[in-house]
Amino acid sequence: MAMTSSGRATVELKGDREILITREFDAPAALVYRAWTDPELVPRWWTAKRGTMDVCEIDLRVGGAWRYVMTAEGGFEVGFHGEYREIVPGERLVHTEVYEGMPDAAALDTITYEERDGRTLVTMLVTHELPEHRDAHIASGMEHGLQDALDLLEETARSLA
């Protein structure tokens, strides 16, 4: 059997309210789930080496809260929090997610961990209530402004009409 390294992350926008992130890991689902839900382990990967994790609270039970706060390089602080809605250890996790810079826009995250031959496919579906929230979510923390892009796009669309 050909041994391949871990896959690459792909981001796909589904419909007008959803973001789908998928990635394969060379590890069993139980371990991936543990790294995803243990407050000792999350800070080691969630910051993506882009800052320091100041808060990582995980109350892993249905109705329990989570909160992540990171100070990015340059001093900019970003916080996210939510509530667990569904927990099937090693298989499925559903929780709300609020970006604290946009507290009115809550998303629902559904994460599934599918193990096959010792490898695990993780899919993370982020569902926003409104299309504008979805677009703003992706724009948050980005260096290039979403609004600039949309303005340019609108100009192009108009010029074609």
Binding site: A9, T10, G15, L31, K49, R50, H144, L152, L153, A157
Partner: protein, 117 residues
């Protein structure tokens, strides 16, 4: 209302992974459909369908040359969106690269624990 529909439709059109692949190919210059079929491994009807969606939102333009239809990227307007979807993907990939290292550690520890028993 029309504004939201326009931007959202265009946004989705550009962000679909196969269509981003086609946009990446066209970033290297104007190409005929057959080239895109060869480079993507998709069927001609699939490529044509993606190109139609991209044309509808203004991401590509087409011109006839003899029997060929040549497609060209409309670079300035669409690059920023294309770029930041890729940036978002990069953020997650960087997180997951770190997660790979955490998983390696966990596995090594499990093996050590197994030896102790």
């Amino acid at each position: 209302m029309a504004r939201a529909a326009t931007t959202t439709d265009a946004f989705n059109a550009i962000a679909e992974p196969r269509r981003r692949e086609i946009l990446d190919l066209l970033a290297g210059g104007e190409r005929p459909v057959n080239d895109l079929v060869g480079a993507t491994g998709l069927t001609q009807p699939q490529v044509s369908k993606h190109l139609r969606v991209l044309r509808e939102v203004g991401a590509v333009t087409v011109r006839e040359q003899g029997r060929q239809r040549l497609y060209r990227l409309v670079p300035l307007a669409l690059k920023p969106i294309h770029d930041w979807v890729r940036d978002y993907e990069r953020l997650w990939e960087e997180r997951f690269t770190e997660l790979d290292a955490v998983l390696d550690d966990l596995r090594a520890k499990e093996e050590d624990d197994g030896d102790d028993e």
